[in-house]
Amino acid sequence: MRVTEMMSYRFLRTEINDINNRMMDLQKSASTGKRVLESSDDPGAVRPILNFRSQIDANERFDKNISRANAHLANVDGILDKIGNSLIKVKEHGIHFINGSLNDDDRETIAGQVGELKKELLGLANSRVGDDFLFSGYKVQTRPFQQNANGTIEYHGDTGEKELEIAPGERLAVTVSGEYLFAGRKDTDGDGWLNATGKDLFSVIQHIEWAMQGKSGEMVDASGEVWPEVENGQPLMVNEDGTLKTDTSGDPIPLIHADSPVHLSKLRDSEGNPVTIRDLDDPQEYNVESVEISGNNLDNFVYVHANGDIAQMDSDGDPVIETSVANEYEKLLDSDGNPYQLTQVPELEDTLTNLDEVMSRVSNERGRVGATMNRLESSQEIRQQATTDLKELLSTYEDADIVEASTKLIQQETSLRAALSVTSRISKISILDYM
């Protein structure tokens, strides 16, 4: 074989070029610490790398979300603690009231203290963190418990329970439903409708207060006013001046519907929002009997009796009741424009039993909050562990083995040096030196 100078130079050129390229690659991995910088560096590693990065991002977000949810629940827990304490105080007052030998002044003082505790509990029910109310469901900017002019406390939030994703595909509710906690209403059978599962906290305490005021057994309206009654225990309508209201034939008008005193409440949809006449195009949807509702003002709310019947309405859309005279109706609104809600005040002992039920609900909820927080904490640990594991996995795909890279770099350096020295030696030898 003839060997020409071109051949040795070409050989040298390609060889040195190759070595330089390899050194460049090694230098890049050694200086960036990454093995895969472009997809062609290892096409098979591209998808794992991108997926791991995505999962790491997600885990870090879950971690942050869990921290925020935990902070929120810690607030809720604090509030529940205070609520529990207030309820204990109410109960102490109740027991003291029953057992103690008290004079009338003492009784009045204790009843007043229960009234103060009711206000305190209302304040707690309307607790907020930042701008958001804790117990109003999704309607975080609506004050959840508002007192009407007549003294009843109504829930204005909704039934929403905020869930967060705490792990891929795993959701956890991180709020407490104010409607359940305070009013005892929740959708237990999953039909989209709220069921009463227990007593309403505010009305229980109201009853205690009334009972302490000596109204046990009496028929009272929402403001605590005692109503006159006829012999068979039926309450009668009264005028603003306290006189009995009469129909055209001069008879007093009994406030009775289906053998019970009138207790009207607004018809609410599955999310707890009051329903208007306009909304009620399909009564079936609201679990009520179909009725003819007339009225000019379609935006008026629909009222129902305690047994679920829809209250009759007049042309203004206000609830009415039939008097003893045929086709005569009387409005069922009191002087403040609120529908009548008559209740018979129970005995104090009975109200304290109801209070126990409310207290156990509150402490159960608090237990649930604690359990949720534990769950969040352990989930957070798992997330953090997963993040570490994923980073390690990502590293095996993506990161350069620095030791290996530098060893290889040294190897390449050696071969470069060898190539250069061989060439320089060969090119030193020339026949011209011997001629």
């Binding site: 071109m6 472009e38 997809s39 591209v46 998808r47 997926n51 990065r53 967060l164 994703e165």
Partner: protein
């Protein structure tokens, strides 16, 4: 006496021949580093002998020919190897750029997709927060920008491939002309018995370069002229005639080629080329469109999936059914508008849907509203999405049927609705066939328009949760079995694989080419060492001949001095 004079002649021929040898040798050494140069050799022959009686006398030496070393086989193999190497090399440059565009670093599209869903996940914690809502809008916008940038870079890459080819064509046409000129010189020289060695070397070099660039094939005819063809036939050079390759940009199809032969121009399909041109064109016409289609699919999936969830939600202004991204606009294939009562009035009839050529039928009853028909289609027919959209007038509604897959087609035929009622108004082309390109763009511009929940309650985060969960949903890619990030990863790894394969090819082809060039040098290259030894040889021969002439001269002197 005549014998001695004859000897002088022999000496002279030897001096002359060795001189010639020295000068050819000098020329070889001078061109030792000239690309494509073939070593030349003086072919010395003995003069015919003269017969004198029984003896025959040699008459010295003569220079028969100056031939160049040549190996036809290696030259042909070099051209073929150059073509293959050219193709791989042509792919390499645009592929490197493509790999950079479909990158995998943290600022890549995958990162933007992650950031987008991360913003939604953050929104779930504080769904009414303005900062969180603004972040969602911003990340949506950033994602759109990233898609735009990627698309623009791809379009830019296509442009730069075209301009590279266009510039290169000037070079190529020059070379074609040079080959035609060389053909002329070579055939002329050959016909007059000359040896056009340099012209042959030059032509071989040009032919090899052309093979690398165009993948051209060569045929050398008996007169020594080289004909140059493109791989699939069209002639580029015939004898001393060179055709020209012209290129022009059309608005729709990019760079198109024509072959100008004399005054006739014929169009040259881009698959005619080999070599570097084929490499570039393959990237432009095969790899780039695939990447673009995959990116389109990804955008399409993102738009459809995010919008589907978002539309079920309600924003802070109590609006529902809003799109988060601009809907895929070219999918607007609208259908019947109904009159006031909103019923189809088509009793017991069949609505025919043709999806990708397969026909299915959906029964329509008289009492069906558009919503009913929509639900029937969605329940009974896979692969299409039916929805009811508002028509031009507020009171009219239209049933919209679109394919769920990007390249699928759907046609709807209402002819079989026997009682095609008057109120089934269809304007123009009913249920047009659709396909189209997806352009991801955020449709909302106010933070309060984002639907984070099912209700307008500010703390409702149900919809935001569902959208955030899309990050891990396997709803993207051609088989709908990948997450969005994974679908992007597939695009990227496909490009990487192509690049990797190209690197291997280039390396092995370059080795082949190097070996062939070495082989060529072995046969036709100039070795300085060898030349120096030859130089010594010829110098000695020259000296000896000169000495011979001197000696003969002295002999003549001796003879001439006898007379005195």
């Amino acid at each position: 006496m005549s014998g001695l004079f004859n000897s002088l002649h022999i000496g002279q021929s030897s001096i002359f021949a060795n001189q010639k040898n020295m000068s050819v040798l000098g020329n070889n050494v001078a061109n030792a580093n000239t690309e494509g140069y073939s070593r030349q050799e003086v072919q010395m022959e003995a003069w015919p002998t003269v017969q004198r009686g029984d003896l025959s006398f040699g008459q010295g030496v003569k220079v028969g020919d100056i031939a160049r070393a040549h190996d036809r086989f290696i030259t042909d193999r070099l051209r073929d190897a150059s073509e293959e190497y050219g193709e791989a090399e042509g792919k390499a440059t645009p592929l490197t750029e493509l790999e950079r565009i479909i990158g995998i670093d943290e600022n890549s599209l995958a990162g933007s997709i992650d950031d987008f869903f991360d913003a939604w996940q953050e929104l779930t914690v504080n769904p009414e927060g303005e900062a969180e809502r603004n972040l969602v809008l911003r990340q949506g916008g950033a994602l759109a920008t990233r898609f735009r940038q990627t698309e623009n870079s791809l379009a830019g890459l296509e442009d730069s491939i075209d301009s590279r080819l266009e510039t290169e064509l000037k070079n190529v046409n020059d070379k074609l002309q040079q080959i035609a000129d060389l053909n002329q010189r070579i055939t002329q020289a050959t016909s007059t018995g000359h040896n056009p060695n340099t012209a042959l070397d030059e032509r071989d070099r040009l032919l090899q370069e052309l093979s690398q660039e165009l993948g051209s094939k060569v045929y050398i005819n008996e007169k020594g002229a080289a004909s140059v063809y493109l791989p699939n036939g069209p002639t580029l050079v015939q004898d001393n005639q060179a055709n020209q390759i012209l290129a022009g940009k059309s608005a729709t199809d990019g760079l198109q080629f024509t072959l100008k032969s004399g005054k006739t121009e014929t169009s040259l399909p881009s698959r005619s080329f080999g070599g570097e041109f084929k490499g570039y064109i393959d990237v432009r016409d095969k790899i780039l469109p695939e990447v673009k289609a995959d990116l389109d699919q990804l955008q399409h999936d993102l738009i459809i999936q995010v919008n589907a969830k978002h539309a079920t939600g309600t924003n802070l202004d109590a609006e529902t059914g809003l799109n988060f991204f601009q809907p895929v606009t070219s999918y607007q294939s609208d259908a019947f508008a109904l009159d006031d009562d909103g019923f189809a009035d088509a009793d017991g009839d069949l609505l025919q849907l043709t999806l990708n050529g397969n026909q299915t039928e959906v029964g329509v009853a008289e009492s069906d509203t558009l919503e009913d028909i929509r639900d029937k289609i969605n329940d009974q027919v896979d692969g299409v999405l039916a929805s009811v959209v508002q028509g031009e007038n507020e009171d009219t509604y239209r049933l919209k049927v679109v394919p769920a897959e990007k390249d699928a087609t759907v046609e709807v035929n209402t002819e079989n609705l026997n009682s095609t009622p008057n109120n089934l108004v269809a304007s123009g082309n009913v249920f047009a066939t659709v396909d189209g390109q997806a352009v991801l763009q955020v449709a909302l511009n106010e933070p309060e328009k984002i639907s984070a929940g099912r209700s307008d309650a500010p703390g409702d985060n149900q919809t935001a949760l569902e959208i955030a969960e899309l990050r891990d949903a396997q709803v993207a890619g051609s088989n709908k079995n990948a997450t969005f990030v994974d679908a992007y990863g597939k695009i990227s790894s496909d490009v990487g694989l192509e690049m990797k394969q190209n690197e291997f090819e280039r390396e092995s082809l370059r080795d082949t080419l190097n070996q062939l060039e070495n082989r060529r040098d072995e046969v036709v290259g100039v070795s300085i060492d060898e030349s120096m030894i030859d130089l010594q040889r010829y110098q000695r021969a020259f000296q000896a001949s000169a000495q011979f002439v001197t000696t003969v001269d002295e002999m003549l002197q001796t003879l001439l001095s006898i007379k005195r």
